[in-house]
């Protein structure tokens, strides 16, 4: 009777030992792995005695691979993470350098080609005429010409116009159109002056 009871107690104790070894977290597992390694080294000697009995041999063999698996998993992860961080650190300066390099026109070097520019300055007699011309020309500017950028500026009696594009052929079209419109604007200004003079003349004749 006593023999079967003793056997059950021994098995229960061994199972509890295995569960306790498997339950700890990663750092505990590492510590336990080292301890288990040392214990294993020391245990080899005592295990020889239990091996003689034959019963504790199974838990000893099971404990060894479990303890080895636990420390292996975090170490490659940590190295991979540090490697990725190093790569990210290496990439950032390169991209920053690329974005910070100024081009000839003030843009980044990655833009490549330089835009072509053409400007015209037209000296009017008065600031009023320059402003009239600017307003008329801006209103008549063709919005379809998206490939050519136009900029109109009136500074005192000087009208300045600047075109920017990548295609010299478009320059010719845009500038010719502008000059045609400019001629028309000047003609209109002259007519306005003529009308004003005529009205003044009529006013004087009525007064007399």
């Amino acid at each position: 009777m006593q023999n079967p009871v003793e056997g059950l107690d021994g098995r229960a104790g061994l199972e509890e030992g295995e569960d306790s070894q498997l339950r700890p977290q990663a750092p505990d597992a590492q510590a336990s792995s080292q301890n288990s390694a040392t214990e294993g080294d020391h245990g080899n000697v005592p295990q020889s005695c239990p091996q003689d009995s034959g019963r504790p041999a199974a838990p000893g063999t099971l404990a060894t691979p479990g303890s080895q698996a636990a420390p292996g998993s975090p170490s490659p992860g940590s190295t991979v993470g540090s490697g990725a961080a190093a790569e990210e650190a290496a990439v950032i300066p390169h991209s920053e350098q690329a974005t910070l390099v100024p081009g000839p026109s003030g843009d980044a070097a990655s833009t490549g080609n330089r835009s072509l520019e053409f400007s015209v300055t037209v000296p009017f007699r008065t600031a009023v005429e320059a402003d009239m011309a600017r307003r008329s020309l801006v209103a008549n500017a063709h919005p379809q010409q998206v490939m050519v950028q136009q900029e109109f500026t009136a500074n005192d009696s000087i009208l300045a116009v600047r075109w920017t594009t990548d295609d010299p052929f478009l320059f010719r079209i845009s500038i010719n159109t502008f000059l045609d419109q400019l001629s028309l604007v000047m003609r209109n200004i002259q007519r306005l002056e003529f009308v004003a003079v005529v009205k003044r003349g009529r006013g004087r004749s009525r007064e007399s």
């Binding site: 330089r114 300055t121 000296p123 000059l179």
Partner: protein, 81 residues
């Protein structure tokens, strides 16, 4: 009075077109300016006509070299800066 135009190509060097619009005697300054505009139009047509022809010839000979020249100029500008 002077009607002026300035072209800046991919090499960054400016080229200027100038038309004098001096009024003679009792002539209307605006009339002189209008005549100057006509003259400027002729100069622009001549200038860009030549430029377009040169560009076309350059592309016909070797399109890649034309692009390389612009990029080379840009690179030189960057180095200069």
């Amino acid at each position: 009075m002077e009607l002026s135009g300035e072209y800046v190509g991919c090499d960054g060097e400016p080229q200027r077109l100038r038309v004098s619009c001096e009024a003679s005697g009792d002539a209307d300054p605006l009339q002189s300016l209008s005549a100057g505009v006509v003259r400027m139009k002729e100069l622009v047509a001549e200038f860009f006509g030549t430029l377009v022809e040169q560009d076309a010839q350059g592309l016909a000979e070797d399109p890649d070299d034309a692009l390389d020249e612009c990029e080379l100029d840009s690179t030189m500008q960057i180095r200069t800066l």
